[in-house]
């Protein structure tokens, strides 16, 4: 109660106090004294971002379904609040009961992007518990982490006791069961961790050792005991219809980034873009049946009252009969003035028709992600999108009154030449020309955004170097110069240094944990937020740890080099990734999983379309 009283006195002097009050629609209330396990689910970013995250909400309600567990939430307080908390001596707290994190049994982090790593460390620090796993004896919280970043857990190995690899709905319950046994017995932390390491999908870094060669590459990764597996296999949910889904979902009182009710229509992506990590780690594609999607949509609208329902997946156009689904949902949403949104929709004339029917409230913006400027480079990355399709869709859309077009590209992809960069300019120019040819009176706005290619673990491009910062600058300037010649075109590019750091952390190894500690000490936090990102601090953090960051980002790796994440098994074989990498260099596309099985290896999981399961 003390924390709550102190906190509420601070709320008149911080920005957006609604972030810190909890009290949301469908928030779970329990008596903490009547549960066996207190679980603090932590999202290493501000409230508005964390509460837009579906994974958090699923696991929050799943854990709270158990009578013996109370799962509460904590987010990274904004700088102004951190200062006030420090002044008043308030440790990081949860929004349900305003209990400080050091009083919890389990602290679980959701790792969605590498740039949140310093926030993870900061949140541990704000909780008042030791940063390193080895300094937290039994009785202190066990710190676990899940989410896509755990597919290369190594940069955080010192801080996290247990990493959960893959989808959490089943494994988290197994973990909690084991924890309960640990808490109420004489079991040591060592013994507990050893048993964790034997739950499929759990990686306990302290039972693995890494040896290095003289040149800094890895000589070997091996378990220090025969009692743990050599490789940790990811967990997946085989059946999307029987897996738990919360329909009485927690709904914020203040506006968050994605302020809407969300139903996941399928997991995985069968497209196989060669730069895309999500496309590998979430394999195989597993559809949720139309009946379930409709049922959940109805219940969510009833329980949250949201005026927007979003049907999400990695590539929603690939949902069989998406039109029928949309029509069925429209039957009950129209009357209630609920808008449907379909992010990740591949735009063509059919989907445009669909959008016209359902997205009545939307500002008319068309979004395309060709990722590369020429067909050759799109074949390299296996991005199956044809320029002609873009042009015909754009023409149709312009005729229907759309005035904004957004185009997303990547610079620095493998095999890229100046011609590919000029190709980006040409696409923008052609779109502008289509607009002029139509002789329309209204103004048009074409936005071109480029990010820099970041090679990601477990993808066919995991061995690729990233462009040097100078090379990034050169390419950006070249494109900027070209695009400035077209009327009504706006150009945005992603920060060079952020892209560089992301590349370092994505493919980093255990030596980066010292860098992260230095970065924390130097005051790095909210790195994802441009205003706080300071690469010079990071350079210092690398220097102090005697680490050359370019070793991780700018270097081409050999196919036979041992990669830091090789103890993690996504089900997709190394042979397949090498084959795909070679096909990339030949600019040869690979068909999607919907056309034929491409033998990536994930069929061993016996899920979804690999076993012929359709909607």
């Amino acid at each position: 109660m003390v924390v709550k009283d102190k906190l509420f006195k601070l709320l008149y002097s911080v920005e957006k106090p609604g972030r810190y009050i909890g009290n949301e629609i469908n928030m779970v209330e329990k008596d903490p004294n009547k549960v066996d396990i207190r679980f603090a689910f932590c999202f290493p970013d501000i409230y508005e971002i964390g509460m837009s995250h579906l994974g958090l909400k699923i696991l929050y309600h799943l854990l709270n379904k158990r009578e013996d567990v109370y799962c509460e939430r904590a987010f990274m307080p904004w700088i102004d609040m951190q200062e006030k908390m420090q002044k008043e001596g308030i440790k990081l707290f949860t929004l349900e009961t305003f209990t400080t994190l050091d009083e919890f049994d389990i602290i679980g982090f959701s790792l969605s992007y590498e740039m949140s790593y310093t926030n993870v460390l900061k949140m541990i620090k704000l909780s008042g518990i030791p940063l390193e796993s080895k300094n937290r004896p039994k009785g202190m919280p066990i710190v676990i982490a899940g989410g896509p970043c755990t597919y290369n857990p190594e940069p955080l190995w010192e801080f996290i006791d247990v990493f959960v690899i893959g989808e959490g709905e089943e494994v988290i319950l197994e973990f909690v069961d084991l924890f309960k046994e640990y808490k109420f017995s004489e079991m040591s932390k060592e013994e507990f961790l050893l048993r964790c390491a034997n739950i499929e999908g759990c990686y306990v870094p302290s039972f693995y050792e890494v040896k290095y060669n003289q040149d800094g590459t890895i000589k070997a990764i091996f378990p220090t005991t025969s009692q743990v597996p050599g490789k940790v296999k990811k967990r997946i949910i085989k059946d999307m219809d029987s897996v738990y889904f919360p329909t009485k979902m927690i709904t914020p009182l203040i506006e968050v980034v994605h302020d809407r009710a969300v139903v996941e229509v399928f997991r995985g992506c069968g497209r196989g873009c060669r730069f895309c990590q999500a496309g590998v780690i979430y394999r195989p594609v597993r559809f949720r049946s139309m009946g379930k999607v409709i049922e959940y949509s109805k219940e969510l609208i009833e329980s949250t009252g949201c005026n927007e329902l979003s049907l999400i997946s990695l590539s929603t156009s690939d949902y069989p009969n998406i039109e029928t689904l949309a029509k069925n949902i429209l039957q009950f949403t129209e009357d209630k003035k609920v808008n449907i949104s379909l992010p990740s929709l591949r735009l063509d004339s059919t989907s445009l028709e669909l959008l016209k029917q359902i997205e009545k409230v939307r500002k008319p913006t068309l979004t395309f992600a060709p990722e590369a400027g020429t067909q050759k480079l799109r074949d390299v990355i296996n991005k199956n999108i044809q320029e002609e399709d873009i042009y015909s869709t754009v023409k149709l859309a312009f005729e229907r009154g759309f005035q904004n077009v957004k185009l997303y590209f990547m610079l620095g992809l493998p095999t890229e030449t100046n011609e590919d960069i000029i190709g980006i300019y040409e696409i923008a120019r052609n779109i502008r020309q289509i607009y002029s040819d139509l002789g329309l009176k209204k103004r048009v706005r074409i936005t071109v955004s480029t990010s820099f290619f970041v090679p990601k673990p477990h993808t066919p491009f995991q061995w690729e170097p990233q462009d040097s910062i100078d090379e990034m600058k050169r390419k950006m300037k070249m494109l900027k110069e070209k695009l400035s010649k077209i009327k009504d075109v706006e150009y945005n590019w992603h920060d060079f240094y952020l892209s560089k750091l992301e590349a370092v952390l994505s493919r980093g190894d255990r030596r980066l944990s010292a860098v992260l500690k230095n970065a924390l000490e130097l005051g790095c936090q909210f790195d994802e937020w441009g205003e706080f990102f300071d690469f010079s601090k990071w350079q210092l953090a690398f220097e102090k740890a005697n680490v050359d960051y370019k070793f991780y980002s700018d270097r081409r790796r050999d196919f036979d080099e041992i990669l830091p994440w090789e103890m993690i098994d996504t089900g997709v074989s190394k042979e397949f990734l090498i084959k795909e990498c070679k096909l990339a260099y030949e600019a040869k596309p690979t068909p999607s999983c919907f056309e034929s099985c491409i033998g990536c290896g994930v069929a061993t999981f016996k899920g979804g379309i690999c076993v012929g399961k359709k909607v």
């Binding site: 709320l11 609604g18 009290n23 629609i25 009182l253 203040i254 009252g305 949201c306 005026n307 003035k337």
Partner: protein
């Protein structure tokens, strides 16, 4: 059917007082949708419900009684009060509803602020208030000044236990008014005296019928 306009009287206190005016509008829209109450929406490309708070509430403001009007496409009775209160978050409570058959506007209101400040805060504040203070207002790059006493009927400042309690009686002039937080800010800037707001309440709102 023709839409009916209803007045919803409600109270707001911790912790729900820390949400913004727009959050309040959205929260009530969602609550009505959850109860399957058919609101009247505006026509056009971006339809939204007609929910109008007679006085928008600043972030942090608590009040024993506030009011909004909403257009509804069905008949409502007192039962809706209980139904809403079952689903509203802690700190928000609907008190009563009535059909809006006339037009009303706010004539004046009382605010109570609790602050933490130095012992002699009131002495300086009273001195400040005697000098016909002005409030600076920046909107769209333009700076205007409003005279506090054009909007203020009276005030009190007194020490109460650990805190200082300020009461302001504020009138609405041509639809606009000043907020106590702005008076305090102007004072603090001129006198360079620090204070910390602990709580702000709009104790009473007086309405008058518009003819």
């Amino acid at each position: 059917m023709l839409a009916k306009r209803y007045r919803f009287y409600f109270s707001r206190d911790l912790p729900s007082c820390f949400i913004s005016h727009l959050d309040m509008v959205r929260l009530f829209e969602r609550s009505f949708r959850r109860l399957n109450i058919k609101l009247k929406f505006t026509e056009g490309f971006n339809p939204h419900p007609k929910i109008t708070f007679i006085l928008p509430m600043a972030v942090g403001l608590c009040s024993p009684e506030e009011m909004f009007e909403v257009d509804v496409e069905e008949d409502l009775d007192e039962k809706v009060v209980e139904r809403l209160n079952l689903i509203l978050p802690k700190g928000l409570k609907v008190l009563k509803i009535e059909e809006a058959i006339d037009k009303i506007q706010v004539s004046d209101m009382y605010y109570k602020c609790f602050i933490e400040a130095e012992e002699d805060f009131c002495k300086h504040f009273e001195e400040f208030m005697e000098k016909s203070p002005k409030i600076k207002r920046e909107k769209d790059g333009k700076v205007t000044f409003r005279s506090v006493w054009d909007y203020l009927i009276g005030y009190e400042c007194q020490k109460k236990e650990d805190n200082i309690e300020l009461i302001f009686h504020i009138k609405v002039v041509n639809g606009s008014y000043i907020k106590p937080e702005d008076i305090l800010k102007a004072f603090s800037e001129e006198y360079n005296i620090e204070y910390k707001i602990i709580r702000v309440e709009r104790e009473k709102v007086n309405y008058q019928r518009v003819i």
